[in-house]
């Protein structure tokens, strides 16, 4: 059956009941909880005139904060690629002893409320914390600077990479590696051509999810970051600062940029994923 636009509320292409009721309720709920709130972001910054909006976008403190969020999220996601790959490998292929426990522990950063991870990481890596004291022996200070932000973002982003890579690794046929080995491939050749190539879409997804999460992350970062303007101030925190100054248009401008970056990066990942998937498809 073909649907005309006028049949929107009638058919639904199915003989099941409840279409109109459930669609109406779903549209009402998403309308009030998604469309209405997000439309404020699109409209509010322009209410005081386009000049004000453009002025807000030129604010150097905002650009610094956006750059901090962007670069730290990128570095953290990149660092999570090898770490996440190692853990995914150990879980999927390595017969890791205690793999059930390890598997549950991987999800811990997702389960831990962000405020709890925030104060915990700040204490743990602070100058007197267990790991902070260890690192300061090596002359590394991670609290109250960008290294602390990267560390916190690595912690919250790790599960995304592991969970994206692990199922693909598990389903990768073992025979391919053995065949490559028999055909005389070196271990690194096997790794690059047989294992890494089909994993690329999963790695890109993991990177993208960790990055998108990192850009907007607030609770787990602000306690360890030190929050110095122009140095270790992340964009979400600057939104809060602007709100405390009752500068709503300024806060909204940052929010709009932040939203665009995360949507853009997610769209980009979707595109790259499709491309790599075609490229790495077994011939």
């Amino acid at each position: 059956m073909r649907l005309s636009p006028f049949a929107f509320f009638k058919a639904g292409g199915s003989a099941l009941p409840g279409y109109r009721l459930s669609l109406t309720l779903t549209l009402a709920w998403t309308g009030f909880f998604i469309i209405l709130p997000l439309s404020t972001l699109l409209v509010y910054p322009w209410q005081s005139g386009p000049a004000a909006m453009l002025g807000a976008l030129h604010d150097t403190r905002m650009l610094a904060a956006l750059w901090t969020s962007f670069s730290c999220a990128g570095i953290a996601a990149a660092c999570n690629i090898p770490c996440g790959f190692l853990l995914a490998w150990a879980l999927a292929r390595g017969n890791l002893p205690g793999h059930r426990l390890a598997d549950a522990l991987i999800d811990l950063p997702l389960a831990l409320p962000t405020a709890v991870s925030g104060i915990t990481l700040a204490t743990l890596y602070g100058p007197h914390g267990w790991l902070g004291a260890l690192l300061s022996l090596l002359g590394i200070s991670v609290s109250y600077n960008k290294a602390g932000i990267v560390l916190a973002l690595m912690f919250v982003g790790l599960p995304f990479v592991v969970r994206a890579v692990e199922p693909v690794l598990r389903n990768l046929p073992h025979e391919l590696e053995e065949a490559a080995h028999l055909l005389g491939a070196r271990p690194w050749q096997i790794f690059v051509r047989i294992i890494a190539a089909p994993l690329l879409p999963a790695l890109v997804t993991g990177f993208g999810l960790a990055f998108a999460r990192g850009i907007g992350e607030y609770g787990s970062v602000i306690f360890i970051a030190g929050n110095q303007p122009f140095k270790s101030e992340i964009a979400p925190l600057l939104i809060v600062v602007r709100l405390q100054e009752f500068d709503y248009p300024g806060a909204t401008a940052i929010a709009l940029v932040l939203l665009c970056i995360s949507l853009l990066s997610l769209a980009l990942i979707g595109g790259m994923r499709r491309r790599f998937a075609v490229w790495s498809e077994p011939a």
Binding site: S14, T30, I34, P113, T120, P236
Partner: protein, 267 residues
């Protein structure tokens, strides 16, 4: 040989990065002994924060579960123009910064917001009050039930429901007796994820709450307040309690598996 190195490095990494934080929470909470930390929980502001968090979580989980089931039903069982767009919209809160998720409610209901001044005339307060906290929590937890239930409903197909229609069943009967029993596990998982997120939401709630101790402070906000006031034991005790609640919600998702395994052993 390589295998042993991978094992050693993996466990070292897990211990250093993933096990130390919860261990740290416990040791910091129990620094002055169990009695001292339990005593911090009897503080009236702490109790108010715990109650507020439980209340907000209950409301958010109930409403978003009902919505999630209906949205999954309409998105999976029917085909209509704009269906994919609706699906993207429903999942949008997952990719939005928590702070932005709070900000949008201020832009709607704050003193400088679209509807704030209007509601002020009728003496209705949403921003910097409990309703705002509930709205922000509803926003961030909206996608979880839909996302977990949809794939399972997809696999289920429509045959059973269509048979039920022929047998004369109505919408609610089909939903209750045919569809929901088949997605029980996924629904439980979605509800528990919603619970964990609602309990621990910090950024969004922090923006709309107004931080009035004893009134609009949820557990995560109270933790921040205590931590910034150098009340370390109290902060980490509350953190331990909150982490325990959220983590048990996440772990409980595998409860059906445990029960199935137990029954297998018995049989």
């Amino acid at each position: 040989m390589t295998r042993y190195i991978v094992w050693a490095v993996s466990w070292l990494f897990i211990l250093l990065v993933l096990v130390t934080p919860p261990a740290m929470v416990l040791t910091e909470a129990l620094k002055d002994g169990l009695a001292a930390s339990v005593a911090t929980l009897s503080d009236p502001d702490a109790q108010a924060a715990i109650w507020l968090t439980l209340k907000v979580t209950c409301v958010a989980v109930t409403l978003n579960t009902i919505f999630g089931i209906l949205a999954a039903w309409v998105l999976v069982k029917f085909r209509f123009p704009g269906r994919q767009f609706l699906q993207v919209l429903v999942e949008l809160p997952l990719s939005i910064s928590p702070v932005v998720s709070g900000l949008v409610w201020l832009l709607l209901f704050g003193a400088q917001g679209w509807f704030g001044p209007l509601l002020e005339q009728w003496n209705i307060h949403i921003a910097f009050a409990v309703p705002g906290i509930i709205l922000a929590t509803l926003f961030v937890t909206l996608p979880y039930v839909v996302r977990t239930v949809m794939p399972v409903m997809e696999v289920q197909g429509r045959d059973a429901e269509e048979a039920a229609v022929l047998a004369g069943a109505g919408f609610w009967q089909i939903l209750w007796h045919v569809t929901l029993p088949g997605v029980r596990g996924a629904l439980l998982s979605g509800v528990l994820l919603t619970t964990a997120r609602a309990l621990g939401e910090f950024g969004a709630v922090s923006v709309v709450s107004g931080h009035i101790p004893g009134e609009t402070e949820t557990m995560p906000l109270h933790i921040e307040n205590l931590y910034n006031g150098y009340q370390s034991v109290a902060a980490f005790t509350m953190a331990a309690l909150l982490a325990l609640m959220a983590m048990s919600a996440v772990l409980l998702r595998s409860a059906p598996d445990w029960i199935a395994r137990l029954q297998e052993k018995k049989a």
